[in-house]
């Protein structure tokens, strides 16, 4: 921006301005002077100035510089982030290397005493940690597999121009709706629906079947939580996949059809390979979300974790370590391990989506698709009127 200052004479038309802007940016990139040095280089220059009296080439700084406003406007974000996210994260990491808990019902504070990797060793050798992590993964997979299959089918149908679905807007509106609903309310609602005397058992009773004790079965408890997860997220996944399909060049589908490729063949040889990056994106964001599973399971099992703690998720375990057992050392170790796990998963996203721009593009595309989805939901017209189809 600084460079644009020297072009202050008002150009005749907009195109001129654009040229000037582009020129300015290019100059900025090749310009190699004081302003482009890093803080250390600038410091050296200043020291040199003091001793030799030779002024650094601060050409750009003599002009009105707008760059500083960038820093000023970033202050609120970074101050808040530092205080409420970064500092707590550092504290979590620090205390994960200490013995720090409240004994005897929270009366006696023990620690913090540095104890190296003892908490990590404890967490990783503890069979409960692995059990809770296994529960979390099991519930996630049970929700994810039907989700990806149904979402993929829906995404293909919604973007298929030959089908010309009516009421597409209505279907999309309904399917995205559960995503906005309070997860804890869903947990409570299903707790009511599947209680011993609840509506589901009432329906079974009226069909002449004996009631099922859903709350006493590990399978049912996990299954119902996975179902709620599926219900809340399949609409969102459909949007992501749809945005991926719509991003594929239409002419590819057209030439495939002209070559006589069948629907399934087109899918496996064209749609799927081109969709793979988005597929991985969906898989890993869903996995990161799955690791965070808390609200639904916590409320549905009344914070107890279900029969034999079969639906105790890793986040519920962390929550109980922080709030009820107040074992900050172990809680810190669990937090750091989850941080590393999600970090690795995020890096995989970035690697798969190389060039990294693709991640941004994918997010942007998803956003656009979401908007279009909401728009369709209002208009209730055939989905493909926007022209994003394979025809």
């Amino acid at each position: 921006m600084e460079n644009q200052e020297k072009n202050m004479t008002p150009p005749e038309n907009n195109e001129n301005i654009k040229d000037v802007l582009v020129e300015g940016l290019e100059e900025e990139q090749v310009d190699d002077n004081f302003a482009n040095l890093n803080w250390f280089g600038q410091m050296l220059w200043k020291v040199k100035e003091k001793f030799t009296g030779v002024k650094a080439n601060k050409k750009r700084h003599k002009m009105v510089s707008y760059g500083k406003y960038g820093y000023i406007f970033l202050i609120p974000f970074f101050v808040i982030f530092a205080v409420f996210s970064f500092y707590p994260l550092i504290q979590t990491i620090v205390f994960s290397f200490t013995e720090y808990y409240y004994g005897q019902g929270g009366l006696i504070q023990v620690g913090p005493n540095p104890n190296g990797f003892a908490n990590y060793a404890e967490v990783l050798s503890d069979s409960y940690t692995w059990k809770y992590f296994g529960n979390t993964m099991l519930i996630w997979i049970c929700g994810f597999i039907p989700q990806i299959i149904i979402s993929l089918l829906l995404a293909i149908w919604f973007t298929d121009a030959r089908l010309k679905l009516k009421m597409g807007g209505f279907f999309k509106a309904v399917m995205y709706m559960p995503n906005l609903v309070m997860a804890s309310a869903f947990g409570m609602l299903f707790l009511m629906l599947f209680s011993l005397t609840g509506p589901v058992n009432q329906i079974l009773g009226s069909l002449g079947l004996s009631p099922i004790k859903f709350a006493e079965s590990a399978g049912w408890t996990r299954g119902i939580i996975a179902f709620i997860n599926w219900l809340m997220w399949f609409g969102n996944t459909t949007i992501l996949l749809m945005s991926g399909i719509m991003g594929i060049d239409e002419s590819i589908f057209e030439s495939a059809r002209l070559d006589g490729s069948s629907g399934t063949k087109t899918f496996w040889h064209i749609t799927f390979p081109l969709l793979l990056p988005i597929f991985v994106y969906v898989l890993i964001t869903s996995l990161i979300g799955g690791i965070q599973l808390f609200d639904v399971a916590q409320i549905y099992t009344a914070s107890k974790g279900g029969p034999d703690q079969s639906a105790m998720t890793i986040m519920m375990y962390l929550y109980s370590l922080i709030t009820s057992s107040k074992n900050y050392g172990v809680a810190g170790a669990v937090s750091v391990l989850l941080f590393l796990l999600t970090g690795v998963l995020s890096i995989i996203i970035f690697k798969v989506m190389i060039p990294t721009n693709n991640v941004i593009k994918q997010e942007a595309r998803a956003r656009k698709a979401r908007m279009r989805w909401l728009k369709d939901a209002q208009v209730s017209e055939p989905i493909n009127e926007g022209g994003n189809n394979h025809e």
Partner: protein, 298 residues
């Protein structure tokens, strides 16, 4: 022979076309059936919720109801009069926090996006990448530190701790940045500078009006997110007067809901769920209208 061919060829083509049509019709029917089934699955929980909150508790226990009852008003009155559930406070608390948080999130995310989009300064790319990276970190991993921070500084049972973090929202920042990139012409900024508008003035008078559609959409998403938020508040709020709706629901689920008035529970869940659904169904229309008109202008 040539005559026969001339007759034969179109029929084969027609036959193929007809087959295609039939298979497409079958395909379409199957798709509709699945879509209708999924719609029923999606709507059924909401339907039961609404049906049951219009029946009395003994009535709900007696058997399943397919249709609405007459107990809606009574359940509503009983629930708000219930001494065990500070519901009115809860609703007001939830609305307050969600409104303030959504406003802060949207305003400061737009400001942050403005800063990285308009200005060229050293470390800009690094900052952008950094915000993108922290977007992926779950808030839960720093929860322990946050709880300790609050205990240390006496911030538990203080809404500041729920409200202030809204200023740093990487996800909303990301959407704002995308929107700015698509709609904000640099010429407008340059013209405003020539007119002598201050930089913050440019943000308030020019950028915010241009990105109003994005602000509206992100406001609704932020509002819903905060309205539904359970994890962080449940660790930091213990005072019953300060509880939000998710905390009240959690309290109820922990205190054996079997003994509780069923009609009132369904009513509580209705109050927690239905406003969001209504907002989703009604307000998005206005937003989308804004969005499309904004796009034409931009």
């Amino acid at each position: 022979m040539s005559k026969a061919q001339a007759v034969k060829l179109p029929t084969v083509k027609e036959k193929k076309l007809k087959n295609e049509k039939v298979s497409l019709a079958v395909h379409r029917t199957v798709v509709y059936i699945i879509l209708i089934l999924l719609t029923i699955v999606c709507l059924f929980p909401f339907y039961i919720l609404l049906v049951n909150c219009s029946h009395s508790s003994p009535d709900i226990m007696k058997g399943f109801h397919w249709w609405f009852g007459t107990y809606f008003a009574t359940n509503w009155r009983n629930l708000f009069a219930n001494q065990n559930i500070p519901l009115l406070r809860g609703v007001l608390n939830s609305i307050l926090i969600a409104l303030v948080n959504a406003t802060l999130t949207v305003y400061f995310s737009a400001l942050t996006a403005f800063a990285t989009h308009i200005y060229r300064f050293k470390g800009r790319k690094i900052i952008e990448t950094f915000i993108l990276a922290i977007m992926m970190i779950p808030t839960q991993v720093a929860a322990m530190g946050l709880v300790m921070f609050c205990i240390e500084h006496n911030l538990t049972d203080n809404y500041m701790i729920l409200i202030l973090p809204a200023i740093a929202s990487p996800v909303t920042y990301f959407y704002m940045k995308q929107y700015l990139e698509s709609v904000l012409p640099m010429e407008v900024i340059e013209a405003a500078r020539v007119d002598g508008t201050s930089e913050l003035g440019i943000f308030h008078k020019i950028v915010l009006p241009i990105i109003k559609p994005a602000l509206a959409v992100q406001f609704i998403f932020a509002y819903v997110g905060n309205w539904n938020n359970y994890f962080t508040p449940s660790m930091l709020i213990n005072d019953r007067e300060l509880k939000t709706i998710p905390l009240i629901i959690a309290q109820l689920s922990a205190s054996s809901p079997d003994t509780f008035d069923k009609g009132q529970i369904y009513m509580l869940l209705t109050i927690a769920v239905i406003p969001v659904v209504i907002v989703y169904l009604i307000f998005s229309r206005a937003i989308i209208k804004n969005l499309t008109s904004g796009a034409v202008k931009g």
